[in-house]
Amino acid sequence: MSFTVKKAGDVTIFEVEGTLIVGNRQELKQKVLEEIEGGARKVLVDFEKTTYIDSSGLGVLVSLAKKIRESGGDLRLANLNDDLQTLFELTKLDTLFQISESRDRALESF
């Protein structure tokens, strides 16, 4: 997994490329937490280039959503492919996160 951090106005965007699984989830968590400590409050994770996510990856997203909310911010997700959408529906995490079908839609939603 690799990820890229971008800014769009006051939104910090994390593009996740490859897998988000038990072996690499801490990298994403650490980087997002650093951005929050640096003042980021609107955070978007873009999964356009993500292959699959396991339960540990989902757990990190849940954890980050809590921390960002406690900081007065918001975590939103975008660009889930059909399999990732199914994953979120199976676990009902689609009810916990605001998920947009595209990055532009997500940016508009903040």
Binding site: S55, K66, L90
Partner: protein, 152 residues
């Protein structure tokens, strides 16, 4: 490992590696590659198999072996035209599969950071069994034909 549920048939693929989560992705790629060669559907290759195998290996390393790198994990895979059977064995003392499978979709559990692994394995594969052999074994079976019938 325990007896193959398939009897004489394709040669199983086996690998053993130290109890380190850094090995998971490469091991999963090996399983997917064999299923791809057996013409499993794309959704199985991109979703069901990698997620379920990652969960099984993760459980073996983190829980079964307590992330003790001096212990090992053994992976055994049998693929044919009809099904995939994956066995993951750790050096732990085992667990109660039903008791440990939470429903992460309840209101009480939805906000939990953990507890989705076994649930996903059981939703994405056709069967998940657990038994004792040399160590603790989790066996997962995915039938190719059922792919379009599953909820996932």
């Amino acid at each position: 490992m325990g007896p193959s549920p398939m009897g004489p048939g394709p040669m199983p693929f086996e690998m053993e590696f130290p109890s380190d989560i850094g090995y998971i992705e490469a091991a999963v790629a090996q399983v997917v590659r064999r299923c791809e060669a057996a013409s499993f559907p794309g959704r199985h290759l991109a979703f069901h198999i990698p997620v379920a195998v990652t969960e099984a290996l993760s459980n073996a390393i983190l829980r079964g072996n307590g992330e003790d790198a001096s212990k090992s994990v053994r992976l055994r895979v049998v693929v044919d035209a009809h099904s995939l059977v994956v066995e993951v064995e750790d050096d732990g003392s085992g667990f109660d599969l039903d008791a440990c499978t939470l429903d992460p979709t309840t209101i009480d559990n939805l906000g939990r950071e953990d507890g989705r692994g076994l649930f996903l394995m059981r939703r994405l594969m056709d069967s998940v069994e657990q038994f004792r052999a040399r160590g603790n074994v989790v066996r997962m079976t995915l039938r190719r034909r059922s792919s379009d019938d599953r909820a996932a």
